[in-house]
Symmetry: C2
DNA sequence: AAGAGTTGTCGGCCTTTCCGACAAATAGC
DNA sequence: GCTATTTGTCGGAAAGGCCGACAACTCTT
């Protein structure tokens, strides 16, 4: 039953399992690859040797997506993706292939999730189905009947079918899985805290995906992953095609759509700015985090983790303290406690006619420090990146002008 | 779980499921196809219309096996085969393809069977494993342990894997399947009397096949099968390639290796001759039936069911009362009660130079009747068949010579 | 803050599964 | 035909699964 090969997953099912917040670049699209993000994704505490190698590399590498595999782990059922990236040599005349929009329009997938309780995982072999899920995903039950029941065939990410009995019982009445539930818990090694995602496509076929709480990663495995990352980085630096693996549950993607990065870099991010970040929860509801930029802290002008944000909400993962501009949004609605930042985007664009194969970095060593920035222990730097032939400047004299007000 | 398509089965596993007595002709080999046998295989009581059509056809048709599919029924797990036969046009110069001997030598399959009891099928969800089977097929258990147990992964004919707990318990101690056995009974719809065949190949992988007691064939299904047979017969008669389906449990094969038929036809079969027939039982043991030829009763010189045999053993299927010569062996060792027939093969062979597309039948209308034959109410006929350009004569004047003694 | 709706956990009961006892059937001498 | 071994069936025991009761939690207003 347990296949040893990773399973190819239907794109819409894969997306629902990963969560709608997870963005996988499209085939043949332009992206930026962030080596530091890649390393931190494999190992949050990388060894110094790896870090120094990363520091000697370009901080971001423009690439084209040459292949996308949407996969599922045969052991854990968790979804992940394997991408083949081909570095773009600046000024090269290779015409990019057409980006195929894979939204087929007609077929859709609706999903509903639940983090399973201790009782779901251990007790009596029954699963308490959230009423939202039952209403949205499963065929309607005869709720007036004495013992409403139906047999559901639910397909996992490997294409294996599980037959559950779905009943509506108890007082107050609720939806439950009874028959075959404990076998499912047993085979999938589910524990309290793991999440299930139930999905239904336009043909009515029902699917189930799993997100695990515990990330059991042995030190040896992490070491191995780190070595694989470093091999990829070396290939990227040589402008050769390289393969990366991205697990949506292990932090943000380090391969980001070019336009998204470029647009985000055009904003004059500065200390004290109010920002937000919308997150999808396990049950596919949306929650919004609000925060304030506390520092522009990119060493060597690395956009990955350039902005340090202090989030208002307590439960925030460590790796979201330092974010890239594309990972957050400027918060228009939230009133700033100290200052009002104008939503106007002040962008400095300079046409570049130099055909160089490397990304040009121009560091402005003359920092201008405003009173506000000083008061917030925040260094404002003028930083200019060249992105696909366009020079972008971040951390401008906006502060000064505002401070003068 | 339940596939709707027939499964392709590994040849050695298929053979063990069918039983070693079942002979499937090799790809590209010469065979004789018996239309009457085909019809009786589909329906033991065929309608008169079908029978009259069969009678207007050749009684046997030489063919080449153009394809062999070894299959398993997705509903019942029973094995069967689908053959594509291409009629051989006598004298045609088409060079036959090489017959590939598919015996790979190295890999073998051992098997052990059991007809399951009422208790196996209904009670308490346990299966009493025959000790022979446990010793031959399963990995050795620590028989000295207090509760010897192991988990066995057993593959069915569709490639689905079943996990059973195999224990050695009770007083007296015996091998049993406990965990998952009742699910297997349930899913496979097993009833007392059905047989299981456990197999192990040279890599140690364990398989299970099923033979059912009840042949539930609705009248409509039988009608359909009869029509399919008649279509095949019509194609065969036109010397066009045709497909046949053979179920090993439903009687002897009507597609028989040419050499086997020819050799059997060379023997002067006669009334009173002692014959034997070895049969493989469910548990893969061998039992031998003994009998006496009571009649040479082929109407229109049809070798299928030409010999009428009275078997000594009681439990004989009806369809084995009338057999073809290739289905039995001359019994050298069994002492004849009345007469001693010499084991010498008296064969009359005549070279045939006529290039005819049809099989020549020469009926000798002058019957000679001996005293012995008269006393046994047995008609001795001289019958000549042309097989692949060789004329074979059966039921000779041996009787007379013996009777004169 | 209160009410309605939802869902986590528990104990009881019923079914299924697992076990050795015993006896019946079979194989071996 | 006798004995040794194997295996079919049974009743009791243990485990697993299904149920409503009740309470805690969440969401809405």
């Amino acid at each position: 039953m347990a296949l040893l090969q990773p399973s190819l997953v239907d794109p819409k099912i894969w997306q629902s399992c990963a969560g709608d917040a997870v963005k996988i670049p499209k085939l043949h699209s332009k992206v930026y690859y962030f080596p530091l993000g890649h390393l931190e994704h494999a190992n949050p505490n990388p060894n110094t040797e790896s870090l120094s190698l990363i520091n000697s590399c370009r901080p971001f590498i423009p690439c084209i997506i040459s292949s996308v595999d949407l996969l599922a782990d045969p052991q854990t059922d968790e979804v992940y993706t394997k991408l083949l990236l081909t570095p773009v040599i600046d000024g090269s005349s290779v015409e990019p292939l057409e980006v195929h929009d894979d939204d087929d329009g007609d077929d859709y997938v609706v999903s509903s999730g639940k983090t399973i309780s201790q009782s779901d995982a251990n007790n009596g072999g029954a699963f308490s189905v959230p009423s939202k899920c039952a209403k949205l995903i499963f065929p309607p039950l005869e709720l007036e009947a004495k013992l409403p029941a139906q047999e559901l065939s639910i397909t996992d990410v490997h294409g294996n079918v599980w037959e559950f009995r779905h009943v509506y019982r108890g007082n107050p009445k609720r939806h439950m899985f009874t028959h075959n539930w404990s076998q499912f818990v047993d085979k999938k090694k589910l524990v309290g805290g793991d999440s299930l995602i139930f999905m239904k496509n336009s043909t009515g076929k029902i699917y189930v995906g799993i997100r695990r709480v515990k990330k059991i990663a042995a030190a040896a495995v992490v070491q191995k992953k780190e070595l694989v990352v470093m091999e990829a980085v070396k290939l990227a630096e040589k402008n050769e095609a390289f393969e990366v693996v991205y697990h949506p549950t292990a932090g943000d993607n380090f391969v980001v759509d070019a336009k998204v990065v470029e647009d985000a870099m055009k904003i004059n991010w500065n200390c004290g700015m109010r920002v937000k970040r919308s997150l999808k929860n396990d049950d596919s509801s949306i929650s919004v985090q609000h925060g304030t930029i506390t520092n522009l802290c990119a060493p060597s002008n690395r956009p990955w983790g350039m902005l340090q944000v202090k989030w208002n909400e307590a439960k925030v993962l460590e790796n979201t303290l330092q974010v890239g501009p594309w990972q957050i949004e400027y918060s228009f609605d939230a009133p700033s406690l100290h200052l009002q930042y104008p939503p106007t985007k002040r962008v400095k664009v300079a046409e570049d006619y130099t055909l160089s194969n490397d990304i040009q970095e121009v560091r402005h060593n003359s920092f201008s420090t405003s009173k506000f920035v000083e008061a917030n222990n925040c260094n404002t730097r003028k930083v200019t990146f060249k992105l696909f032939g366009t020079i972008i400047q971040v951390g401008s004299d906006v502060d000064d002008s505002l401070a003068k007000k």
